[in-house]
Symmetry: C2
DNA sequence: AAATTAGACTAACAAACGTTAGTTTTGTGA
DNA sequence: TCACAAAACTAACGTTTGTTAGTCTAATTT
């Protein structure tokens, strides 16, 4: 557990502001004020506003990519893989709830290589998920519904979880996982 | 069916840009360019950027509020009311898919009275939904799960539907409703 | 034909933006 | 105590921002 550098502190402060107002509505002066310093001082630690965003977003994108990869190479059933993906999202949400807003809402403000890297990772992630869903249907694990609707309903719930997790007073992670898996897989009626 | 005024055209152009980059990242010059005119000309039709946002967001918020109200006063079962709410979201998504991005992501840039009006409507909407879910559980219509988790999983799926609706080539509305109700209520396994 | 109006235009404004340059302060190790 | 590096500062830059004022044009109304 290495100590947080000044750069990490800036990124954390920025995350919090991005979550409230979005990347474009947050100025370097806002971030500096949150840190108790002047805007120009930020440049002793980071190269610019864009670096804050890309550090934030690409870190999380890689986290999801890595998680999906280990699910893919596991020998578990399609249904269990979906359970694992749900838990992956919950784990990342619990550990990085501030930064997830930027991942979801501000990725389009990335530039050049960072943007195309991100889009690639996101597309691959969805494609892998889609494959698992299709395998689940073929194997009879899942009901024979349109894979796209299943994929969408699970993914949009998981992607917006960060919005609720904080508001509802940080529920216990294991209870959350249990409830979430139950509702998403078995429905409510 | 009254014809679209120039103001309506501006709001439509702005919606499309807001959806792509968010309210703060879109300039009046961007909107003007989309219309093929100069930024200053926009002010012959609207009072400012803020009016575009509030027109957009409050219109939709009222649409949801009105829809929820007619569901509430109906004499249907809690389960049927939830079905109706799902269909309400799908109808609004199909008819206003561009504007929904601003509702979801840019409402916090509203000012003063508009902001507090919006927040009130949104809170009331969620509270009404929550009440229906609780009644459904009490009546035995729904499984006895935590109402908050049910509410969250349905609502976050419905709220992000606009993102998928366009990407997946505008599916048929009735099929979409059927699939959606099935997946959200009965689960996938 | 004259008058009115809707809707575009150019030019400019003050404020806020991200960022740079150069300087001063602060804390650490020799 | 001195030297050095880390990290703050002030001041300013060129751009972009939302918006206003005033003007011109083309269509519609009288």
């Amino acid at each position: 557990m290495k100590t947080a550098t000044r750069k990490d502190e800036i990124i954390a402060a920025a995350s919090s502001l991005f979550k409230e107002k979005g990347y474009s509505a947050v100025s370097m002066r806002d971030i500096a004020q949150e840190m108790g310093i002047k805007a120009a001082s930020l440049y002793n630690h980071i190269s610019g506003k864009q670096e804050i965003l890309s550090t934030l977003v690409l870190f999380l994108a890689k986290e999801f990519t890595r998680g999906m990869h280990s699910v893919m190479i596991s020998e578990r059933s399609p249904l269990d893989k979906i359970r694992d993906i749900i838990e992956l999202h919950i784990d990342i949400t619990v550990n990085h709830s501030e930064a997830l807003a930027a991942l979801n809402n501000d990725w389009m403000h990335l530039e050049d290589q960072d943007l195309s890297d991100f889009v690639k990772m996101r597309e691959d992630y969805e494609e892998n998920f889609r494959t698992i869903v299709k395998e689940g249907i073929k194997a009879g694990d899942l009901k024979p519904r349109h894979p796209e609707v299943i994929l969408f309903s699970i993914l949009s719930t998981l992607r917006t979880l960060y919005l609720w997790y904080q508001k509802r007073g940080k529920l216990d992670v294991n209870i959350l996982k249990k409830d979430m898996v139950a509702v998403l897989l078995k429905g409510i009626v």
